[in-house]
């Protein structure tokens, strides 16, 4: 351990292993969690655009009542693949990307516990992405049974081929599960065992708590989906009778297998975004996260409760009355730990010294839309009301408020917040604010009209509809097109800022966190010296240092 110090040349001319100048690095089997994180995010975003394009066509079809833009089979393939791509190719990989990039830095580790497993898990993503894309081109087209793939529709296979859109879909989803479980084992091990000295549970940033909670759900829930998918695949390919009513099987049992995972899956999606909000609000309000210990623990409570609410997707499926009532109560209960977080964020912001940067705007916008979604969510938990709006556009409006309103906007908040750290450059604030305005207006315009549509009884997944729904659909479609346009300033901003934005420095936001103690971008092994943590994570307004040593040279 020599004490000789290296003369560090001016950062902008000294090649850093983490710097983005070497773009080829992103096409390799790199085991650096920072590279893998960016790989995940970029691949996911490409599929976000692809899934969004499908949505544009759908909204084009829905501009007018009759099914006159595309054939019905095409529309059904579109909505199926839109949902499938958005979930399995956008949200899960994107969130794994954020977690991958940030968690080791935030806990003071040099990398994930299993760097090669990490890379392997990532490289599976393009594989099943290709499978899903290829499914558009096989005879019979892609899966047209919705992203739930309910039998018997998913077993009908009108083309009669063994290799059809549905079996490719099942294969892709199974591979996605393998990749996710690999990632979950990695992240859980990392968070449980590789925190820096001094970082006890309540010195760990809330983002890490939420990521841990989310990955625990993946570990417990995904295998149930795998089991159901395996049985569905056998029904489809070799003619077993698990879910086929003609052979004595039970199609409703599939729904139980499916939703036992897929409900908790939505908490896998939202929890890390909760974590992003918890990280962003303190920085731009210059105030500690209000009630941080409770906010942290509520993440695990949500994980626990998430396992016992799944039947609320099946209130109209022929479930017995006692089951409906039981799951109504558990579903409503989950609003309590969630509400605690919402109120905590408001209390964090209240009385602070706010800076409405793009990241903060997206976080605030995301919080507002999540609030609305949470309220419609409680309504949906109520069985008699849900029976009326189940499978209508009311539900579609609700979950898009969560997925677009909270998750996508939370993603944007995260990117604008950590872009300087990841790239060493600052993005253009004006373009960022334009992006926010277009997104916020577009999302509300697209998804708010879905609520009256649903109340009036317009079913979801329809290529055509009765004329009385036209007005709301036109509004929604306009919003949809606006959302498509809104991605343009973002893409422009990212590309131009990454290549020629002004230098950002180590900590442009004067934020408190281990990741802000190292250079932007961080060096290959993150920390020259593993930090020794001596205080809690959100010390705004106080003079306590975060660490006892200096984890970065100079």
């Amino acid at each position: 351990m020599s004490n000789a110090s290296l003369e560090v040349a001016s950062p902008s001319f000294q090649p850093q292993p983490g710097a983005p100048d070497n773009w080829r690095r992103f096409f390799t089997f790199s085991t650096d969690h920072k590279v893998i994180g960016i790989q995940y995010i970029v691949v996911a975003f490409v599929f976000f655009l692809f899934g969004g394009l499908l949505a544009m066509v759908m909204r084009g079809e829905l501009l007018t009542p009759p099914a006159d833009l595309v054939d019905r089979t095409v529309y059904n393939g579109l909505f199926t693949m839109h949902g499938t791509l958005m979930l399995f190719m956008w949200t899960f990989p994107m969130l794994n990307g954020l977690a991958n990039y940030l968690v080791p830095l935030m806990i003071g580790a040099r990398d994930m516990a299993f760097p090669r497993l990490n890379a392997a898990a990532f490289w599976l993503v393009p594989v099943f992405g290709v499978i899903l894309t290829v499914s558009f081109f096989v005879p019979g087209g892609p899966s047209q049974s919705g992203w739930w793939a309910y039998p018997p529709v998913s077993l009908q296979n009108p083309s009669g081929n063994l290799i059809n859109g549905q079996s490719l879909w099942i294969l892709a989803v199974a591979l996605s599960g393998v990749s996710s479980i690999m990632g979950a084992v990695n992240i859980v091990t990392t968070i449980l065992r590789m925190r820096a000295p001094g970082m006890g549970w309540f010195q760990m940033p809330a983002f890490c708590w939420t990521v841990l909670s989310a990955q625990l759900i993946q570990l417990i829930g995904l295998p149930a989906l795998t089991a159901g998918a395996v049985m569905l695949l056998f029904d489809l390919t070799v003619g077993t009778s698990f879910f086929n009513p003609e052979l004595g099987g039970d199609p409703v049992l599939y729904q139980h297998f499916f939703w036992f995972y897929s409900h908790p899956a939505v908490y896998v999606i939202i929890l890390p975004i909760f974590g992003v909000f918890s990280e962003v609000f303190p920085v731009y309000a210059r105030k500690p996260l209000f009630g941080y210990p409770v906010v942290a623990v509520s993440s695990l409570i949500i994980t626990g409760l998430s396992a016992i609410v799944w039947v609320h997707h099946m209130f109209a499926s022929g479930t017995p009355g006692w089951m409906r009532m039981l799951f109504m109560v558990t579903t409503m209960t989950i609003s309590v730990p969630t509400g605690i977080k919402v109120f905590a964020w408001v209390a964090t912001v209240w009385g602070g010294r706010l800076r409405l940067t793009t990241g903060m705007l997206f976080a605030l916008g995301g919080l507002s839309m999540f609030l609305f979604a949470g309220i419609t969510g409680i309504m949906l938990a109520s069985v008699p009301f849900d029976i009326h709006v189940n499978n209508t556009y009311f539900v579609v409006g609700h979950f898009h408020y969560v997925i677009y309103g909270a998750v996508v906007m939370g993603f944007y908040a995260a990117i604008y917040h950590w872009f300087p750290k990841m790239t060493g450059r600052m993005y253009y604030e004006g373009l960022g604010k334009l992006h926010f305005v277009l997104t916020f207006i577009g999302a509300n315009l697209n998804f708010l009209p879905m609520h009256p549509m649903g109340l009036h009884g317009m079913p979801r997944r329809v290529a055509s509809y009765d004329p009385e729904f036209a007005f709301w659909n036109v509004l929604a479609s306009l919003g949809g097109f606006l959302l498509g346009v809104s991605t343009l300033p973002f893409i422009l901003n990212m590309l131009s800022s990454w290549s020629r934005g002004p230098e950002a420095g180590d900590n442009p936001w004067r934020a408190i966190g281990l990741e802000w103690l190292v250079s932007s971008p961080p060096p290959h092994e993150n920390f020259d010296e593993i930090p020794v943590v001596v205080s809690g994570p959100y010390g705004y307004g106080s003079d306590e240092p975060l660490v006892a040593n200096s984890p970065a040279k100079e």
């Binding site: 059904n76 022929g318 408001v346 008699p384 189940n390 997944r461």
Partner: protein, 304 residues
């Protein structure tokens, strides 16, 4: 907190409450006409939840917007805010109040569900915003006649009245009488959904599901397939006619005397046209032939 602040907060809370109550009343106008006793119950529940939801929404959004406007850091200010890490009393309050609200909403919902299941022939009539409290908790009466058999398929609805041996693609029901249906599917999952009644039940192949409700308002209403059932799912719609007992009996008698013919069927028509013009998309399950019925519905018929 000083007294002026408390007074201001109470004032704001009252204003929010009044606004929420008003919106709760507006909620009734966001729904279709209440054509069944169930609709009154569901609408009351929806109005109640909308009121509570609005109050929470205004409270939280109001706080955030106030903060966003009035609590911004001055332009060149780089100071931190106050190092407030929590407030035990406040946190207990915002845990306890949601728990109580959840219990309240769950209780109201349970009651509503209970009433819907037990609603007998003494169903309250539609009076706009009439409460459902008048509904007596009577045991459901045994059906006076055998149930109407509802058969769902890809892609048509067929209704069979066994006592009169009448087949129809339009569901006719006598007003103010409990309707008893038996739902079956010939192929895949479907959903029996009449928005004006606020009732819905998935139709599961391999099962015969008993389903009942009480229509209370004469008129013609839309019936839609609500559980995705394949290519022509969106076209799998028909109408429900609620009419006086006399009109109903007359309809049944006329239908019984009419020889069965092929009904209008959107799915079948579209498929045939696409096959003729060679404009089919990807391979699809072929629609079942149009139902052969004594009485056929028409897509031209107006409904509410």
């Amino acid at each position: 907190m000083n007294r002026r602040t408390i007074a201001k907060l109470i004032g704001l809370a009252i204003a929010a409450l009044l606004l929420s109550l008003w919106i709760g009343q507006q909620a009734y106008t966001w729904m279709l006409p209440q054509a069944a006793a169930e609709a009154i119950l569901v609408d009351n529940l929806f109005s109640f939840m909308t009121t509570i939801g609005s109050f929470i929404f205004f409270g939280v959004m109001g706080t955030l917007i106030y903060s966003m406007i009035f609590q911004r850091a001055p332009k060149y200010d780089s100071k931190d805010g106050p190092p407030i890490e929590g407030n035990l009393k406040l946190e207990i309050v915002w845990t306890a109040i949601p728990i109580m609200l959840v219990i309240w909403i769950a209780g109201f919902s349970y009651q509503t569900y209970d009433h819907m299941s037990l609603l007998g022939t003494m169903a309250p009539r539609a009076m706009g915003m009439a409460t459902a409290a008048a509904a007596a908790l009577e045991e459901p009466t045994a059906p006076a006649q055998s149930s109407i058999e509802v058969s769902a398929r890809q892609w048509a609805w067929e209704f069979y009245y066994p006592e009169q041996a009448v087949r129809s693609t339009e569901l006719h029901l006598p007003v103010n009488e409990r309707a008893h249906l038996v739902l079956t599917s010939e192929d895949v999952l479907h959903g029996f959904f009449v928005p004006a009644f606020r009732v819905k039940q998935d139709v599961v192949p391999g099962r015969a599901i008993d389903f009942e409700f009480t229509p209370i308002r004469e008129g013609r209403y839309r019936l839609r397939d609500s559980e995705y059932s394949g290519t022509y799912f969106a076209a799998n719609q028909t109408n429900v006619v609620v009419e006086s007992a006399t009109a109903y009996e007359q309809w049944l008698a006329t239908a019984a005397a009419t020889p069965p013919t092929s009904a209008e069927n959107v799915a079948h028509e579209e498929f045939r046209r696409a096959t003729d013009n060679d404009t089919l998309g990807w391979t699809t399950v072929k629609p079942a032939p149009a139902p052969i019925v004594n009485y056929a519905s028409s897509e031209e018929d107006p409904y509410e």
